[in-house]
Symmetry: C2
Subunit: 384 residues, 2 copies
């Protein structure tokens, strides 16, 4: 494959967008990415979305959004990989441009989740789990993660409060991100006193859902006419899977699909974890932040929380994560999240991350998880 560059990015605030339909919301991000890229058309549109059928009674999003953004006729489709849909759509667009099949591609992650009532949304999210062996037993998504976190606390001897730095860091960073859902900092006391959701996961361990869309414009690097931004290319891209049902795994505390996809991406880029300047990880729950850091080689097994306790995860730390708020505070519009992460990495590599800018950021990684570790995509971007 030829090298692919990211020419434009766009995003909407993650919020409750009750006044905007799914196509309008997606359109806002797409138009922003087109403006940023200085383009008007693309050869293909790749939509990352998980729940439009269940929550918005709308499928065929590819054609729907292509038409709305003025690209009627253009090839378009929707990619679904649960909460990993956004990065999966990005990877499909990347391969299409890298293969030479297209000279440009738009990728948009879109999810609209706040118009339905809570139980309906919770049931919809449970479709990311194993319908026959998990959801049918009444396990919600947060309950599955609670089981994993409980086991982790037991296995490695951490206390619940040791996970506080993940949430505090994410919220602090989000106060500087105008697109974040929760632009408010939290204290250790807030974290410890937060309402329990599914023991041991409390409200401040869990990311908020939301409505949002994020978009990127991809072109072959070789043909890039720079538009005033640094040239940002995709140095590594990989996807891997694991069993959906957590009980079916060899080790429920090891994200093998994170490790596999990260190793592939490192190898493609010729890098090691020490070379990564920032890491936008999938902190849907604080336990997932720890497991991702371990699987990707930033911490020893069972030692993920140590990075937070040692103050290494903030923007000037050794392993900056959730630099724009992460899922925890930027918010988690599920099928859009993977594209938000990549957009945020681009913001960092362009030096546009403001108060949470990682100094001299040259190489950024994003990891997007579908299900409780079932589908995991890792991407490494590089500024040149």
């Amino acid at each position: 494959m030829r090298a692919v560059a990211i020419l434009g990015i766009g995003q909407t605030p993650v919020d409750e967008h009750w006044d905007k339909s799914i196509r309008v919301l997606a359109g806002e991000a797409v138009f922003a990415a087109l403006r940023d890229a200085g383009r008007e058309r693309a050869d293909g549109l790749f939509v990352g979305n998980m729940l439009s059928g269940l929550l918005n009674r709308q499928e065929n999003l590819g054609a729907l959004i292509a038409d709305w953004v003025g690209l009627r006729g253009t090839e378009a489709l929707k990619i679904e990989a649960a909460c990993g849909s956004g990065a999966a759509a990005f990877r499909a667009g990347l391969i299409a441009v890298g293969s030479g099949e297209m000279e440009s591609a738009l990728v948009v992650g879109i999810e609209k989740m706040t118009e339905t009532v809570g139980p309906q949304t919770t049931a919809a999210l449970a479709t990311a789990a194993d319908a026959d062996w998990e959801a049918a037993q009444g396990l919600s998504f947060v309950a599955i993660n609670a089981l994993i976190m409980r086991r982790y606390l037991h296995e490695y001897g951490w206390r619940h409060t040791d996970f506080a730095p993940f949430s505090i860091n994410a919220h602090t960073n989000a106060t500087h991100n105008p697109n974040a859902r929760l632009q408010e900092s939290i204290s250790l006391k807030d974290y410890e006193k937060a309402r329990m959701v599914a023991d041991p996961i409390n409200l401040l361990d869990a990311s908020p859902i939301g409505d949002g869309a994020a978009a990127m414009f991809l072109v072959p690097a070789e043909t890039l006419h720079r538009n005033g931004h640094p040239l940002i290319t995709v140095a590594g891209s990989a996807s891997a899977t694991d069993s959906i049902a957590v009980h079916d795994r060899h080790d429920p505390l090891w994200l093998s699909a994170a490790a596999d996809s990260a190793q592939k991406a490192y190898a493609q880029a010729g890098l090691t974890p020490a070379d990564i300047d920032l890491f936008e990880l999938h902190d849907a729950f604080s336990i997932m932040a720890a497991l991702s850091l371990e699987a990707c080689g930033f911490a020893e097994r069972g030692q993920g929380p140590r990075l937070g306790l040692d103050q290494q995860i903030h923007p000037t730390g050794r392993v900056p994560i959730a630099t724009r708020g992460g899922l925890k505070a930027r918010g988690h519009p599920v099928g859009a999240t993977g594209v938000y992460q990549l957009v945020e990495v681009v913001e960092q590599l362009r030096g546009d991350a403001g108060a949470t800018q990682v100094p001299d950021a040259q190489i950024g990684m994003a990891q997007n998880i579908g299900g409780s570790g079932a589908t995991i995509l890792t991407h490494i971007l590089r500024a040149q």
Copy 2:
């Protein structure tokens, strides 16, 4: 992109598979394709599916099916483009192998639709239409097609009975296909007396839904070790879109996305319609058969029914269509249909189509439609 060949195919009967879960049904087709290809593993799994979230409460099908078929860890994702999901998944797999990103790919189209009650299934299918401007007005999918057919009859002066040959041909061919849902022939009298569904579409204009899965194994043509079958390569592949809402089109009787994608596929293959030995078209409703034949250059505008009336569409005719029963009689498990069509083209190019074999079939085309013409994919396969 490098050339890609189809090394293996597999399919289940289209039926009511109440005893098989979605992963089991998909697995049957995948295992058959692996056996046919003489392989055990693939580098990627591309799942075409539309309704698993709404009807089966299961998303994340990529990881689910990969694990079930013994490919835990392998990259996998789901592609959705309404009833065009199957061919869209095929095209994604094609690009992944063609790009060099993978050395092999499995494509599986899967849909399981018969365990839910009729109104729920009808409402789910309506998510392929425009939720805000069509479905919200109470328009079902068959109603939209009925409006198109009514307009066609008015515009070009055909009688309803002139569409009978499409259904009769499909049913006749299906009597020789053990995987077809309706293995029974029908007469002109049956067609004319069939119960009305949405005037002018009667029961024998409409394809039956069903449960089914079809799969293919793709490899680079250059590395192919033949397995006793003719070498079958992808000579053309293209996808195009149109507005989802039919009232928004310049001409509701012209499938512009069919014309656009067919023209691109012809150009890639260096062929014209006269070179196509058989055409598996998307006869979800008989009116769609006529419109596809016109958009793809097999008939003049408004003259699609003439091909049937002149007895040109049966397997030894000038333009053989629905040679294994088509959507009308093989059945239409929506997200699987596009892969069934391609599997059937391969059967023809291998000379394995039995009583409905098209003589000396060397070049076959398949066209898969998502929505009432909103997303259309055209593929041309060639035996070498």
